[in-house]
């Protein structure tokens, strides 16, 4: 199993945190930028879905690789901003992308840990050897399920779609190693309380309320309880990466890239330092794109590691962590990847 290609698509519209009208002045905005490292993010126009961005990213990927849609045996769609409650968005995308009718397609509704989980799931399916070519999408339109008047999330989250092409190769000598984790007691650290079966949509859940000074939300909007997420993020990801390192006897000196979910700079730097990874081996794209949940790790690879990953194999560690609360770490080798430019839609 190897990564053959990668692509990414972001919306054209850029929202700059420094000039966001939700702050009383630029001083306050600058404080948020300094502590999170996030300067701006891309935002879809209302009506554009994660699947729209995905179509652009996948078409670009197929074109760069010289693959036809009918060459694809497996298609996994990591996304929580689905087109419809039913069916799965992957089914809709099978038709839009003209994938074969016997292609193995499915949604994986993961958040920030989704690309790593997706690599494990698609990798395992393909290791059987009957599915030779797979595409793993990680996409999200975070700006659409969060309230624009919620100052605790508006500056942090952005929209993006990424596509990772995987190819089965029986001579491939590099295994992919994984470490998983979950703590469902933290289900309400990042959640949308209304809109599911537990708390269906009611007229009341659509009414915007000031939940704390300057923070407005509806019951159906995503809530991010910053303090709890922060406490989780500085504890579990470092533990998970250390477990990965000890379980699979990884010599950290030989690691070329530490690919972290782009949560915020403060959290990610704590994780990086906890495993003593030098800054030059830890790329960031959050300053430009914000937190794009499951798309964070592949977007970092596309936008920041294109040259490096087009060369010979690099030894990589990736770690995704967030909503669930769920997290996952992986060790893999990646090189000679066909990576396109980040495209805008």
């Amino acid at each position: 199993m190897r990564i053959a290609g990668m692509s990414a698509c972001v919306p054209k519209t850029v929202e700059d945190n420094l000039t966001l009208a939700i702050y009383k002045d630029q001083n306050e905005a600058q404080k948020v930028i300094t502590s999170t490292g996030i300067e701006r993010h891309h935002k879809v126009e209302a009506g554009t879905t994660a699947s729209d961005l995905t179509v652009k990213a996948v078409e670009d990927l197929l074109q760069n690789l010289g693959w036809e849609p009918q060459d694809v045996d497996c298609f996994a769609y990591v996304c929580t901003s689905r087109d419809y409650i039913a069916p799965q968005t992957a089914c809709v995308l099978q038709d839009r992308l003209k994938l074969r009718s016997d292609c193995c397609v499915f949604d994986l509704p993961f958040g920030c840990s989704g690309w790593v989980y997706g690599m494990s799931i698609v990798g395992s399916l393909m290791s059987h050897g009957t599915l030779k070519r797979g595409i793993l999408v990680a996409a999200e339109t975070n700006t659409q399920n969060r309230n624009p008047r919620d100052t605790t999330v508006r500056p942090l989250f952005g929209d993006a779609a990424t596509a990772t092409a995987l190819e089965y190769n029986e001579n491939d000598s590099h295994p992919m190693n994984f470490m998983f984790g979950v703590d469902g007691s933290g289900f309400d650290a990042v959640w949308a309380p209304y809109g599911g079966m537990r708390n269906p949509v009611t007229p009341e859940s659509l009414v915007e309320k000031e939940v704390s000074p300057g923070v407005f939300r509806r019951g159906v909007d995503m809530v991010v309880n910053g303090m709890d997420v922060f406490g989780f993020a500085i504890k579990q990801p470092p533990r998970s990466i250390k477990e990965l390192i000890s379980t699979f006897n990884i010599d950290v000196e030989t690691v070329d890239l530490l690919l972290l979910h782009q949560a915020n700079k403060f959290i990610d730097e704590k994780i990086r330092k906890s495993i003593k990874m030098p800054p030059e081996k830890t790329p960031y794209c959050l300053e430009e794109y914000g937190n794009v949940t499951s798309a964070s790790i592949p977007l970092t690879m596309v936008s920041r590691c294109r040259e490096q990953l087009s060369e010979d194999d690099k030894h990589c560690i990736a770690c995704g962590f967030g909503v669930g609360l769920a997290w996952a770490s992986m060790e893999f080798y990646a090189g000679r990847i066909n990576i396109g430019n980040v495209i805008e839609y």
Partner: protein, 77 residues
Amino acid sequence: MNIQDFIENFAAQFDDTDEALFTAETEFKSLDEWSSLTALSIIAMVDDEYDVIIKGSDILNSNTIQDLFEIVEKQQH
């Protein structure tokens, strides 16, 4: 752990507030400079200095620095 060190570590998370304002009895959430970002710095400081991860509710339920000190002390044992 001792309360004087804790107060000093706590005060170090603020940029503009006079150090003299920090005592065990300081109601920290009433300080002008207090914000959700300061709360994150406090959580990180407690992790670095005391190897304890406090929750959002620990901060919400504390009024004074002494209150938070006691929560951290309890979790250390």
